[in-house]
Amino acid sequence: MLTIIDYKAGNLTSVKLAFAALGVETRVTDDPAEIRAADRLVFPGVGAAASAMSNLRNAGLVDTLKAVTSSGTPFLGICLGMQILFDHTEEDGGTDTLGILPGQVRRFPDVPGCKIPHIGWNQVNDREEYYFVHSYYVEMNPFAEGTTEYAGVRFASLVRRGNILASQFHPEKSGRIGLKMLSDFLSWNP
């Protein structure tokens, strides 16, 4: 069953409703056994990295996440759920994150005229626009399949490695094009 990992980092309603719009039932859980047994996993997240990491530790999910991301189970990280897959973030005075993917997460520079958070519809690979809401970004890396430019920075907005797919943008809030990505994820066999 399609399983959404709940670690008290933001609101899961939109993700559930987007899959419901595709006619797919979802289960929301923080139970490590259920997560290990899932067919497909969604790892959303909005909010601060440090509290997200502490929630994951308290729920005993750090090892679970390391296991499922190397098991071949199709795995979709969204927003903060993408960022904390990497090694480290500048957020909250510097926070070590899961280290499942190598790379760094940084804060957008203060550039006159470029507001933080980066909110709105921005292009991925200079083509279609998806909906973004974030203040930190994943640095360019070898797994970046999609890149986006903001505040003079080009960052990784979609990464893929093995069974892991992760987007900085919110497919669940990106209209028809976002639903298409979620639908593709449902039939993805990495």
Binding site: A48, K115, I119, G120, Y131, E149, H170, G175, R176
Partner: protein, 258 residues
């Protein structure tokens, strides 16, 4: 490139979308969910719903409507009006709204911005403000913030209040000009620009949009990141597609496929 957002505003009274001028002469425009679907399919980048009489009538926000919208559209939307506590914010967010807009509540209790921002993230907390032009020198920006449907002045300078709200954790500011609201004579560009240049978070221009040129002006002269449109599209006079074509021709980046 980050595109400029066009945000239809739906003023809701007892489950129906209405439109008035300066909160008066309201006419029925339709069902909020049907209109949300129509605008989403028509290229709206985001939606905002104001339950405009909830506060005055001491009613809680219509959560059933928020849930129905969340089930029906896959674009972000904000909800305002009738929010009187952190618990109200949570109900709106859990019902599927991306953002909560606070206005009178934040003036009465600025701490709610910090609490909301801490609980749901700055991106979730929108400060709505209704400034009115004034010659009174005690307001350095020339604009005083009003509340309660423009009926009450607050003694707050618009720019000072915007900065303070951002310090407290607001992630976006909707600047709704009292003088321009409902006139369809164009946004109050000086006010929009004053706020947009004073804060580091996105600013949404509101009040006065009547033509695509007005919307373009909000982005160029007004320095806004997004613009709210209401009457000009509710009447059917303009579509969002037409506004976006105009903006695109004027060299303003907009989302063109939806």
């Amino acid at each position: 490139m980050l595109t400029k957002r066009i945000i239809p505003c739906l003023d809701v009274i007892r489950g129906r979308v209405t439109k008035g001028v300066r909160f008066q002469h309201n006419v029925d425009l339709g069902d909020p969910v049907e209109m949300a679907i129509g605008y989403s399919n028509g290229g709206a980048d985001e939606l905002v719903f104001y339950d405009i009489t909830a506060s005055a009538e001491h009613r809680p926000i219509d959560i059933g409507m928020v849930e129905a919208v969340a089930r029906s559209v896959r674009i972000p939307f904000a909800v305002g009006g009738g929010i009187s506590s952190l618990a109200d914010m949570e109900r709106v967010v859990l019902a599927g709204a991306e953002k909560v807009s606070v206005n009178s509540l934040a003036v009465r209790d600025p701490g709610i911005i910090r609490e909301g921002s801490k609980a749901f993230g700055a991106q979730c907390i929108v400060l709505g403000m209704d400034p009115v032009g004034t010659d009174d020198p005690s307001f350095p920006s020339g604009y005083e913030v009003t509340v309660r449907g423009f009926r009450e002045r607050t003694g707050l300078d618009a720019v000072e209040w915007a900065k303070r709200a951002v310090d407290l954790g607001a992630g976006e500011i909707v600047v709704n000009s009292v003088d321009a609201d409902g006139t369809r004579n164009g946004f109050e560009l000086r006010l929009t620009r004053l706020i947009a240049e004073a804060v580091g978070v996105p600013v949404v221009a509101s009040g006065g949009a009547g033509t695509p040129r007005h919307v373009a002006d909000a982005f160029t002269e007004g320095r806004a990141d997004a613009a709210i449109v209401a009457g000009m599209i509710h009447t059917g006079e303009w579509t969002i597609g037409e506004i976006k074509s105009f903006l695109s021709d004027a060299g303003i980046p907009v989302r063109r496929t939806w």
